[in-house]
């Protein structure tokens, strides 16, 4: 059985009569990279703020490392590193001073500052005021700050937001290395599936405050099969034959579009068509991209 690092039960947050987060049940196992997906305004940041004790849930409970967040907040936060939305460094201080300001509260050895700076490759610019940094550098400093206290859990809210492709790549590699090199569990939120699928093993999709999907990426990919396309010599007659066999299908772009079928079913269907003297030009599996599935989940609130 996997050990859960984060577990929320029926988590709710209500703002002025409107639910920003509704009946959310997150389950995040140790050593996972969990991609927390959803369009802007779906409740990702609200959820993350609740996980960090920044805002109070209207209802429901949060357990991190098996402890109740309400009762043992400081003990939990000692082992959590976080980066919430846009960077929150002190612009007038250098990177080293920024880390020192946080270090004084965390009470970790001074050498840790150099370590985290080298993890995010900022050693070279460490003595410059942060206000002169690029967004990508600020974001990396944010991650360094999150890593300062040797956390077991890293909570990153939209860490690649607003970065250029190179910056996105760097951050992604950094996040990917966390579980292997440092044994850290990572919760990373994003509104882009393409980004999350390159690093996360498990995804949770949130829409209008409700969790509509939570499973591994590979299970999500398995749902990606979207049926078959057949191109034959006489589509209209072939369609009648197929319907006679009890399968659903329709004409589409001069071919036939069939729902998802098992391998024996496909074989049988092709044989029937050949027996009735249809020439078969193509049998194609239509795979939907994860992006399509994501959009379907976002629009309909669940997988069909």
């Amino acid at each position: 059985m996997r050990e859960l690092v984060i577990e929320t039960k029926d988590l709710n947050k209500k703002y002025r009569g409107r639910y920003a987060v509704r009946n959310l049940n997150l389950e995040i196992g140790r050593g996972e990279i969990y991609g927390f997906l959803g369009p802007n305004g779906a409740g990702k940041t609200t959820t993350i703020r609740m996980l960090l004790g920044l805002i109070r849930p209207t209802m429901g409970s949060i357990h991190i490392f098996g402890k109740d967040l309400r009762k043992e907040k400081l003990n939990i936060l000692r082992k959590v590193g976080s980066l919430v939305e846009y960077p929150s460094n002190y612009g007038h201080l250098t990177a080293v001073q920024n880390l020192e300001a946080v270090r004084r509260i965390l009470d970790v050895p001074k050498s840790r500052i150099d370590e985290v700076l080298s993890i995010v490759s900022l050693t070279k610019d460490a003595k410059r005021p942060v206000k002169g940094y690029s967004l990508g550098m600020k974001q990396r400093l944010g991650i360094a700050t999150a890593l300062l206290g040797n956390p077991e859990l890293l909570i990153l809210d939209e860490p690649t937001n607003g970065l250029d492709p190179e910056g996105i790549h760097e951050i992604r590699e950094l996040i990917r290395s966390m579980p292997q090199q440092h044994g850290i569990t990572v919760l990373v939120s994003s509104h882009l599936l393409s980004e999350v699928e390159q690093m996360a093993g498990t995804v949770g999709i949130i829409r209008e405050g409700e969790l509509v999907f939570q499973d591994t990426i590979s299970n999500l990919q398995q749902q990606a099969s979207g049926g078959f396309r057949l191109v034959v010599s006489e589509p209209a007659e072939a369609l009648q034959l197929i319907r006679g066999q009890g399968y659903a299908g329709r004409l589409e772009d001069g071919g036939l579009r069939l729902d998802q079928l098992s391998d024996p079913e496909v074989a049988l269907l092709v044989k029937r068509l050949v027996d009735h003297n249809h020439a078969i030009y193509r049998v194609e599996e239509k795979r939907r991209t994860l992006e399509d599935i994501f959009m379907q989940v976002i629009e309909q609130g669940g997988l069909s």
């Binding site: 109070r56 936060l77 846009y86 201080l93 946080v102 509260i105 944010g142």
Partner: protein, 239 residues
């Protein structure tokens, strides 16, 4: 925990102009009097010939309450702005430290900064008096300390209120407006009944016979405001 937060805060206010403000406020008051006495030295020394030191202290004191209120307002706002400007509340409050400690550390920081300003004012008054050749034989050290510290204690409720408002409101327009209004209103403190807190910085020094009343009331009210502010800060959602 408060010590750790305070040490972190001392680092964070570097180059934020807080110490400059502390210096400007106290030395500014002294510079005004240097000018005042410099321009009409003969007139003033004649007027205060009975007790030159007392005269100097009285002239300085007329601006102490307003300076305390303005200082409390600006320093509170600067302390809070370190976090507001950088959107760093969310980072700070997600650290393993209680909100009570965070709040108390910032209050202490304001308290210390204002205290340093008062210390500079006291020391500077002595220096100014000597420069003005008021003699070194009978410098009224105790009165000079009272000159800045008794009104400071009387002004503590305003410091506590300003810190509470500045730390919990991102928009600093309200606390600053309130602080400046109070500073101006404090100039007419002599006309207020003594239960009005605005009169306390004035009364604490002027009613030398019984300063315990405004000073004690100032400390108690400041503590109450601090507790209420902390309660608010602890329960607040951080966005």
């Amino acid at each position: 925990m408060i010590g750790k937060a305070l040490s972190s805060d001392f680092l964070k206010i570097r180059r934020k102009g807080i110490w400059f403000l502390v210096f400007l406020g106290s030395v500014g008051l002294l510079a005004m009097q240097a000018l005042n006495f410099g321009l009409r030295y003969d007139y003033l020394t004649d007027r205060y010939k009975a007790d030159l030191w007392k005269g100097l202290i009285g002239e300085i004191f007329s601006f102490v309450p307003i300076a305390l209120y303005l200082g409390a307002t600006l320093i509170s706002s600067q302390i809070a702005n370190v976090e507001h400007q950088n959107n760093s509340w969310k980072q700070l409050l997600a650290l393993p430290i209680s909100r009570a400690s965070v709040f108390t550390a910032k209050v202490l920081l304001g308290f210390i900064a204002m205290g340093v300003a008062c210390l500079i004012l006291s020391a500077g008054t002595v220096v100014l008096g000597i420069l003005l050749k008021f003699g070194t034989d009978d410098i009224p050290y105790l009165t000079i300390l009272k000159l800045s510290f008794l009104p400071y204690l009387g002004a503590l409720p305003m410091l506590a209120l300003q810190l509470w408002l500045s730390l919990t409101l991102k928009n600093q327009a309200l606390p600053i407006t309130l602080g400046i209004t109070a500073a101006i209103a404090s100039m007419f403190a002599a006309n207020y009944p003594e239960f009005i807190p605005l009169s306390w910085p004035f009364l604490s020094f002027i009613s030398e016979a019984k300063p315990a009343l405004p000073v004690g009331a100032g400390i108690i009210l400041a503590f109450v405001v601090y507790m209420v502010g902390m309660g608010h800060f602890r329960g607040k959602d951080v966005n």
